[in-house]
Amino acid sequence: MRLEGRYTMNCEVAHERIVLAAYGELSDEQIHELDRHLTTCNECREEREQLQALKTLSSAYPVVEANANLVARSRMRLEDALDAIPPKRWYERWGDGVLNNFARLQAAPAAATLLLVAGMGAGSLGGYEYAQAREAHVAGRAPQTIAPMAAPIPADPTDVANISSIVQQPNSEKIEVRYNAVVPREIQGSLDDPSIRQLLMMASEDGTSPGIRDDSVGLLAAECRAGHSCNAAGIRDALMVALRYDRNAGVREKALKGLEPYVAQDVRVRDAVLEALLNDSDPHIRSEAITLLEPVEADMTVRQVLSTVATSDQNPQIRNVSRQVLRRVPEFQ
């Protein structure tokens, strides 16, 4: 009577196991099982030899290290390509950061809820008490006893910026959660201060409040009109973004005014103003745009846009003004 297990390996499985064994993917027990099968099965032993032969043969085409020239060439080519990519605009990076944080924040309310739920076994403030006790212990003072009524639930999900760690105490229902809170802050300074400028630029994109955007764009625009360094740190870009995307016409108008000094010298600004002329929903802004384009009236591109506007703008006054401008300036040859 054969005492060997209820399970005897069939050859099809053995063939697969042979491959796995050859590549170190079997557990010790599985290897042992396979060896047992191979002692009794000729066909499978041959199969294993064949596979070994394949492995040996494959080594005739060995993996080689890339030589130094290839590495250097590749690296140089990459560096050139990377140099050609303009650095990410501050608002693009900021956008990325927001998205990353958003992804984390989405998890945070769930984690905060976990704290509340997990603690319930020991009373909903059990976790809080434990954390307090530990902190006191570490600080070398006696833990305060907290009357359950008086202690607030520490983690209101809206105050939580992110959760930095969750540790379950072994053999207990208590969980310790460390989190970072959102802290409102204030800063004062002049427009020369780079931090103030940075915050202003961030504010110009603050989706929640048109009032804040209005203030910040107004300040930035004033800077530009005054001729203060408007090149630095993408203030011009911020104004162009506000002109193109802000939903509030007042903000857009401020941005437009801020860009006025640069229409003649910066082709991107000129194009942004042309775009406003073609696409802005507010006729006042479109008409402002025409005024701004005065210094570059003779430009081919500008004339083309003016021709389009002269026939297709919804507003008759704007059509009129465009025609006048076109008539005023002889065609540039």
């Binding site: 063939h15 697969e16 590549y23 064949q50 494959s58 085409y61 080689v64 890339a66 650095p87 990076r93």
Partner: protein, 204 residues
Amino acid sequence: MDGPDRAQERLQARAPEMELIREAQGGSRAAFDALVRQYEQQVLRLALHLTGSEHDAEDIYQEAFLKAFRYIGNFRFECSFYTWIYRIVTNLCLDQLRRRKTRREDQAVLVDHSGDEIDLLASVSDNRSFSNPDRELDRKVLGERIQAALGKLTPRERMVFELKHYQGLRLRTIGEMLNTTEETAKNTLFRATKKLRTQLAGLR
């Protein structure tokens, strides 16, 4: 289950790289360049062996790291950076393999002086060809035949065999990199070895 200490240890070991990645995500070109230097040798090694061409390997290097640069903001640390980079490289390599037609007419079957087919596998099993330099089975020629046989695999089979046999990765990692399961990677490996043996044993 790992205690918090072990987790902390692993974190420390990975910390320098994580810092680099965060800096690169923040826009630091220097940090990105440092990451490139850490992985470029491996990337080239893989691309070179898969494509057999320095020129193609260079192209893959270029595309892979440009892609990494563009999308590093999306890296959320759910897998290791190594896996993430390799995923990009293997996908590019797969595209490359698919684009190539069967350029070579070479068979994996050799014919000896009397016109009979040589069973490469049998000769290797006998260990004759490798130990005797006078044999017609020159190592360079053998290498070409292996390449030809590899070329007959489907792109995925080729990739799995490459990552398993030549690069020594675990099947589970291979599954992650190819965005599939370990089980599927296993079955692909079985198909690949079967096909290769058929090719090299002189059968068609």
